[in-house]
């Protein structure tokens, strides 16, 4: 560090003072605002002694004062429950606890402050009804305060508005609530913080308590009224010594809010004594300041990391004289990961947030599971799919019964299952059985769940997880202790909310090097400590100073008038913490966010601006701006290497009798839309995630229609023992539709007993619509009847496949192609080859030549297919009959002049016979297949980005 700076820290000074004041320290007590200071005090004191000594007792103020209180301190959560009991009594008809909770918290805070600041509640909670009252009330306040308060109540006169009534409704009960609440607690021998302090403040004087020891009060700044009273008492009665930590810079300048409280105390006859004549003036000694602006947060940590990396190599670097201050807890992770390895030891005063662990998510999912579960008469308890998935996927649950879990995950995704009956799961692992059963008591549910997890995992070297599990277990036990039997009543809705909030404060402490590591701490922990190098992140408004705790039932002006703290106090306190930290530092680095959004503040902290405008220090301003350049994405162009070709043999005749893979029309269409996609799907066989995509849905939709129609006609022809459909058969068919659909759905969701099948969510609507289609198709068949059904979903088995000879790489190979034909029927000499379509499909064709055109393939694919089927039929049955390709496409199905025939684009002439085109079509197929197998050509990406929109490989292509 730079020479000539006095390196002593405030705590060192305190140690020195205590040592010199007292021959032996066995009867001295030193009190700091918080516990941690004690540690450092001991260290400093040790430096000053050469043999063992009786060490002064060192306490935090609270620890020290408890000895004067008969009360046991009550936990906030518990307090709110107690408060609620009183509330119910005071306010005859009351909201439920969950509605009350957050208000309870607020009321409790108000009560805390009211006692901390020893406000006379009788006066505070006066309600004003008449002008007269208004004029007479508040005489005891000074003019200004009186005025402000009157202005508040004035607006209630002559008559009150609805919102004001609402306000009074609460206001009126606050006094009885306050009194009732304190009485209740006192009877239990318990009290909340403020209550304890206020009580001590009164008690000390009343009981003439005289501590037997020499008391030192060191490093305090903002005191509450009761603390002040207590301090004064000790000063007067037992000559307690107060040691302030201050600097002339803000102490002597009235405009500096940092000095507000100190100046105030300096005026006091008792406290005044303890202030120095000539306060040290360190802030204006020379120091270096930098302020680095970064967009958002992570960059701040990274930038700081680099600075520290350099500093850490300098000889004078002392980790323990270096502090990283995090006004925002959530910056812990980014900072942790940015501390360079040059720094070997680190000490962290904040804890590891349990909320971010995977255990937490597990618990939250579990709560959701219960919260969103439904009871139904037939199915029993059913669970909502989202939490179920989250849980089954959880790294600590999945392994318990992997097979079943994965089965269910697939099941849910493929079939859009929404509410799953608990009894369907059929897990055999007790923990899973427990997890997926309705449970009435949220807390117990979690505790037992944790216990179960622990029992399973604690001996499977998952220390970390096991530890987290235990911590939650511990915390929840505490909660249970507090809430006790009330838990049942709480219900998941509320407990989930509660748990989310509580969990935020669940932390696992770090074991570090409290005294000689680099220090990482929050703002408040810096109290009393001094460092040589200071790094502060999130140096933004709303972060330092932090937002004042919002929400109080006592409106601003009334608070002010009665001396309750207002945001100014908050600001002043943070100002003090800020400047105090600078006093003995040489090198200060600020990092701040520069992006303003609704919930992010991009404004540099006022304190930096103050320094800049007033201190005379220059602050070196920096902006983090990394060069930005987007690499263009390299094209993917797959060459037909021997390996690739080898894979492609799968579809060639005589390849391997066990593998009968054949190319389908959709394969060809894929190839025509994008060769690379073809490669991924049919050559590399990269399968899509089961994840249900929008357009996947569409496909499913189509398939179900196909099945339904097949079932409908199969069953009909079976029952009637004839494959001809007569016009008046239609009635039966129409009645059959719903059943057929049900079956089709059931098959798709492979539900064994179709009657037990109930469509859910969107599939209900799909069902309705599909029925509409089916009925319509049947209607058209009626008009067409009589006709004979020759085949339904006819495919390889019915001989609809071909080995098409092509020449590739010099030799001739047969490529296996097949297709599934939705329906083939015959009327007279005319055979229809029919395809059902549920999409946007067109029934126009230009020419077979045109089918090769990649630009228009999406429009033409329907034709390509139905021709393909017609071709297969022709290949099998030859020229015997006229072949009419037909398409039942939803788009036209409902049109007045619907015709199932396809027609030529220009002439609009309908196609009545495919045979003349068959040969040309075969050539077309051959050509495509030849190209596919041609080693010279490559699998490249489509030019038309539209094809990429729903393509599962779009991420790989970066499209």
């Amino acid at each position: 560090m730079t020479a000539g700076q006095d390196t002593s820290t405030f705590i060192a000074e305190v140690a020195q003072r205590v040592l010199t004041d007292n021959a032996s320290m066995e009867n001295t007590v030193v009190v700091f605002p918080n516990r941690r200071a004690g540690l450092f005090f001991r260290k400093e004191l040790a430096k000053l002694i050469d043999k063992p000594v009786f060490m002064p007792e060192v306490y935090s103020l609270e620890d020290y004062l408890m000895r004067y209180s008969p009360y046991e301190k009550i936990e906030t959560l518990e307090a709110i429950f107690e408060l609620f009991e009183v509330y119910k009594v005071v306010k005859k008809q009351s909201e439920t606890f969950d509605k009350f909770f957050f208000w309870g918290e607020m009321i409790l805070r108000d009560f805390e402050e009211i006692d901390q600041y020893m406000v006379d509640t009788k006066k505070l909670f006066t309600g004003i009804k008449t002008q007269k009252e208004l004029d007479e009330a508040f005489f005891y306040l000074d003019e200004e305060d009186k005025a402000t308060i009157q202005s508040f109540w004035a607006s209630f006169l002559p008559d009150t508005t609805a919102t004001q009534k609402a306000f009074l409704e609460t206001w009126r009960i606050l006094l009885p609530l306050y009194e009732g609440f304190k009485k209740r607690l006192a009877e239990q021998g318990r009290a909340f913080g403020g209550m304890i302090y206020r009580d001590i403040a009164d008690r000390l004087a009343a009981e003439k308590i005289k501590p037997a020891h020499q008391l030192y009060l060191a490093g305090f700044n903002a005191l509450t009224k009761s603390e002040e009273t207590i301090f004064k008492y000790f000063v007067r009665e037992s000559n307690a010594q107060i040691i302030w930590d201050l600097d002339a810079y803000y102490y002597n300048n009235r405009q500096q809010e940092a000095g507000t409280f100190l100046r105030e105390y300096a005026q006091d006859t008792l406290l005044g004594r303890s202030f120095p004549e000539e306060p040290a003036s360190r802030i204006q000694q020379d120091k270096t300041f930098t302020a680095t602006g970064v967009s958002l947060e992570v960059g701040q940590a990274k930038t700081m990391g680099e600075v520290i990396t350099e500093i850490a190599q300098q000889p004078d670097f002392e980790p323990n004289r270096t502090v990283v201050v995090l006004p925002q807890e959530h910056m812990l992770f980014p900072v942790l990961h940015s501390i360079p390895d040059e720094v070997e030891k680190v000490n962290i005063t904040m804890g590891y947030p349990l909320k971010d662990t995977s255990i937490y998510s597990l618990l939250e999912s579990a709560l959701d599971l219960q919260r969103l579960s439904k009871k139904s008469v037939i199915k029993g308890t059913t669970f909502y799919h989202r939490p179920v998935q989250e849980l089954l996927l959880h790294p600590l649950l999945l392994p318990l019964e992997e097979a079943k879990a994965t089965h269910w995950l697939a099941e849910i995704k493929k079939k859009n299952r929404i509410q799953i009956p608990g009894k369907e799961f059929g897990f055999s692992h007790p923990l899973l059985q427990f997890l997926f059963a309705k449970n009435e008591n949220p807390i117990r549910y979690l505790i037992d769940l944790l216990k179960g997890l622990h029992d399973h995992w604690h001996d499977k070297d998952r220390e970390l997880e096991t530890e987290f599990i235990s911590r939650f277990y511990e915390q929840l036990l505490k909660v249970e202790q507090m809430i006790g039997e009330k838990a049942e009543g709480l219900g998941y809705e509320f407990f989930t909310a509660l748990f989310k909030r509580l969990a935020r404060s669940f932390k696992v402490p770090f074991t570090g090097e409290p005294l000689d590591g680099l220090q990482i701490m929050g703002i408040l922990e810096t109290r009393n400590l001094d460092f040589d190098r200071v790094y502060i992140l999130n140096m933004n408004e709303g972060s330092w100073p932090a937002q004042p705790r919002r929400g109080s039932f006592v409106p601003y002006n009334i608070r002010k008038a009665f001396g309750l703290p207002v945001y100014e106090n908050n600001d002043a306190m943070y100002a003090y913490l800020f400047y105090r930290l600078l006093q003995r530092a040489n090198e200060v680095h600020f990092y701040y966010n520069t992006v303003s959004e609704f919930n992010v503040n991009g404004e540099i902290s006022r304190f930096v601006r103050q320094l800049e405008a007033e201190s005379g220090h220059t602050i070196v301003k920096k902006i983090l701006a990394n060069p930005v350049k987007t690499q263009s994405i390299e094209e993917i162009n797959i060459r037909k290497t021997p390996e690739v070709l080898q894979r492609m043999q799968r579809f060639t005749a005589g390849y391997d009798e066990r593998d009968q893979s054949k190319l389908t029309p959709s394969a060809l269409i894929t190839y025509l839309t994008c060769r690379l996609k073809f490669y991924f799907k049919y050559v590399a066989k990269l399968y899509e995630a089961d994840d249900v995509q929008e357009e996947m849905d569409a496909a499913v939709f189509g398939n179900i229609l196909h099945n339904a129609m097949e079932i409908l006609y199969k069953e009909f022809t079976k029952r009637q023992k004839r494959s001809t459909i007569e016009p008046n058969d239609v009635m039966y068919l129409q009645m059959g539709v719903r059943g057929a659909l049900r079956k089709a759905f059931a098959d798709h969701y492979n539900v064994q007993k179709e009657e037990s099948f109930e469509p859910e969510g969107r599939s209900i609507i799909a069902f309705e619509i599909l029925e509409k289609f089916a009925q319509q198709i049947v209607k058209h068949d009626q008009q067409y009847a009589p006709f004979t059904v020759l085949g339904l979903e006819a495919s390889t088995r019915e001989g609809y496949h071909v080995d098409l000879p092509i020449t590739a790489g010099g030799q001739t190979i047969g490529v296996r192609i097949k297709g599934i034909i939705d329906r083939i029927d015959q009327k007279g000499d005319c055979v229809r080859v029919i395809d059902y379509k549920t999409g946007r499909d067109e029934k126009e064709y230009e020419s077979i030549e045109k089918l090769k055109d990649r630009k228009t393939i999406t429009k033409n694919k329907t034709i390509l297919q139905v021709f393909y089927y017609s071709y297969l039929y022709w290949k099998k049955n030859g020229d015997a009959h006229r072949i009419e390709p037909g398409i039942f496409n939803s788009k036209d199905l409902f049109k007045e002049d619907f015709s199932w025939r396809v027609h030529q684009k220009k002439t609009k002439n309908e196609l009545h016979d495919f045979r003349p085109m068959a040969q040309e079509y075969e050539d077309f197929l051959t050509e495509i297949l030849t190209e596919i197998y041609n080693p010279e050509t490559t699998f490249d990406q489509t030019d038309d980005l539209k094809n990429c929109e729903y393509c599962p490989y779009s991420d790989i292509c970066g499209r």
Partner: protein, 1057 residues
Amino acid sequence: MSNQNFIIYKSSAGSGKTYTLAKSYLKLALAHKGRFKRVLGVTFTNKATEEMKQRIIKFLTLLKEGKEPALAAELCEDLGLDEATLRKKASYTLSDILHDYSRFAVVTIDSFFYQVIRSFAREMGLQGNFAIDLETEVAMQEVIDRMLSEIGEEEHKQLRTWLTQFAEERVEEGTNWDFRRDIATLAGEVLKDEFKAIAGKLTDLAENPERLIKLKKELDGTQYAFENRVKTICKTAFAVLEQYGLSVDSFKRKSGGPAGLFNKFAKQEFEITDTRRAAADNLDAWVNKKDEQKELLEQVLTDRILPLYNELIDYYDSKHVDYYSAVEVKRYFYTFGILTYITRYLQTYRDENDVMLISDLPDFLSKIIADSDTPYIYEKVGSRFDHYLIDEFQDTSTFQWNNFKPLVKNATDQGQFSMVVGDAKQSIYRFRGGDWRLLQHQVKYDIGEAMAEEANLDTNWRSCANIVAFNNSLFQQLQPLMEGNYFKDPSEELRQAMGEVFATFQDAVQQLPEGKPDNEGFVELSFLKEEKDAEEKFADLAIEFTIQKVEEMQTQGYELRDMAILVRTSREGRDIAKAFIERSNSKLAKPGMHYDVVSKEALFLTSSHVVQFIISVIKWLHDEKNQIELANWYATYAKYLTDDEVNESNLYLDLSQWQKNVPPEFIKKRNQLKSLPLYELVEELCRIFGLSRIREEYTYLQGFQDAVLDYSKNERGDIASFLLWWEEVRKNRSIIISDDNNAVKIITMHKSKGLEFPVVIIPFMNWSLDKQNNLADKILWCEGVSQAPFDEMPIIPLRYGSALENTHWADEYYKEKLRNLLDSLNLLYVALTRPEKALFMASPVGKLDKLSSISDLMLELVNFNKEWNAENGPWDEENQRLQIGTLPPPKKETSGGQEIALKNYFSHNWRTKVHLQMKDAVEQSEKYFNEKALLGITLHELLSHVRYADDAQQFANHELFTEVKKTVATLAEYFNPDWEVQTEVPILLPSGDFKRIDRINSQPDKIVLIDYKTGSPRSSDQKQMRGYMAIMKEIKDLPIEGLLLYLENQEIVKVEA
């Protein structure tokens, strides 16, 4: 003060709006100490807020240092101060603000409303801890999913039918049956102000569906009645013809002629050309002079066909409006019910999550405002304002203004100064409810004509003369340019409305500040012609044009950072950015030229390989069966993140290879990684894969990590829910780059508002004057009309489109069409007024006399300005290019703070430096609740309060009293008063170590140390005691004894030194 204490500044572009605002603020703040606390500055965006604050602080600093003479002079003038005093006041006020900064109230409308609502939360029956949900889309998705997941349930039968019908409509229109997206679009409606205004009426309707169903019937009735009647007439006609062996073709011009009308109508193509109308009573129109069948034809016509023909026409004329109305109403019929359901579900969502959508704020506030009087609101909020300075007023919505009105009025009525500033011509946020008419008329009226003063700020400090001139010539002449071209034959009302629109532009001719040269600046407008059936479409040409200009400007010495490319949609932005990026890595790139671009619209996190990679790995970790993800991250890794050669062609064939090529640590740690907190997971991936190798992507990586951090800050940090969230937001997460980055900015016109750039390029001057940012189908909420059945409904949702021209709501349609026009023009105005020195525009070749797109307008403009077309005028006919003025030299200016860059993007393993405190707490807490141990501890505690035998009494009724007495008995001799006793004595060693001795008994000649022990004796106990004794020796050099007392069995052990 003058009684005109409310000023309405109408400030056209570049006229120093912000300056005026800041000045007004300073005037107030400097007038009296602490006055600033009473001023509320209201801005449109958070960015603006911050800039305004900065500016005020900056001005004060400069004033204090006497560095801003111009402003100083004005202020001295206005405040009647001398320079010295002003400086003093400035200095004081500066500190005053800095030290009471929370009172420095420059805020966005939203945050102000939020503040008020908070202080009324209880009264409004809100949860105490409600929050604002910013990701409305995500919220909506959840709401919709929830809704769809429940349609199975009995009570939702009605919804089910609506949705089914909704879906059927889609299917019959041939669109995808799966309507989730359409619903999402629809859902957007419920957040709009228009909707909120009528939500009430809608709910009643939805409450009793029977009414809707009845209505539907009637509508069907109207529709089919019409269609059938028409059909019958046509059928009869055909029958007649057949009967005479004739057909439509028998008549003049066959189906093209009058007779064709029957064909058309039979095919339900209802349209009657004037020629056909004329033919109604004119045989010559039907029959050719020398047609040999002339007699017969005329015979049939007069007796049979013409009557039918006329009947058809008359019927059409009398009924078609009802017909089309019915059709149009049915189109969006079901949205009724669906929307109300969505509203309901949204409410549940709010309640369950204690959130408010940002769009809810105004509603809530209006409830508060409506009821309470101003002073009370101030009381509750805790700060009262006497002055309101509202910025961007043209974008304020009626909702918002109505909330401000009482507050502002209250202030002005008390003679306090307030002001609004805005520019109707730059009102481009109508889709967010912004309403320019507030600024234009309403506000004046609301405040009271007497109080309000209007001031025009029309000096353009920004743009050079030629640019100003060009804009003036365009916007002044809108009237002559557009008159009669946009609407076929507008009604009088419409004409007036249009006039008003033009007026707003006319009365804002921009002035040049004195002394500014009147011939500076450069404007180019090029019409790019698509060659017939050439691959190159306009878009490509325009992009090429843009790249060219950027190159030219560089040769002219301009920096990339001086240039901005303005686009209408982020899509366009993306295309341009893509083109530039490709160009920069292609051989077409000119040597010495740079092609770097930055753009919030284009530089999405997902366009970074590194980010891509991380996401993909995470997805894969989440579901290791997912082949595609494996392929994805492995390929990305192999191609971009390592140096080893890869044969991509085979890469995908055998993915199992990955194990051989990735860092072993990854394979080892895979499973731990899965249960790490999300943020840590990402850091670990960065570390393990050494992702800091591509420097140009740091910003992306950083941006992504920020997204992750932000997410896990509020949500649970598990992979599953993160991925869900990411899918929703990935599309619009882009990196944030400091403006100092030396690259061309690509920015949407909307976002460009309020900004200025030396050079502006507008590649796509081709947006439609009618449909704004082509919102697929916009809903118009129209009132019912007196005529049945349309009187059934108080309010009707209709799809905006020319189909409405033939309905009862033609006017509504025209009005909207006019508003659209205005939107387009305003957008144009904003765009054209950004540049300082040069403006380049590329437009397709427009059409004259048919105004449907900006390009048409531009062409009109060129035609209209005769002097441009004059001999050696700026218009170059051959190249279809307009070029005005010459390019001024660039001015070099230095950017703000010093720029630094990360040398590396390290991510370190912290677990080597510090550890978590491990104590398997389950066992622990078992202990914690295990009586015995507990007692041990408390007993210890109690004994420390017992110095002498009598002290024991204080615990007389403590459960452990007997235990205490036992001990006192066992050690009786040490509990008698002739000892001096200390308990729990802390001792410090020079080493810094520290011991605590349970009990020290001293007498002048000896000392006895006593330690209480729980549990059974251990040898270490004695060792420890000896240690104590040694230490004690150093403090007091006396004979020392040591005692150990085992509490359970009360056994005493003496320890020898």
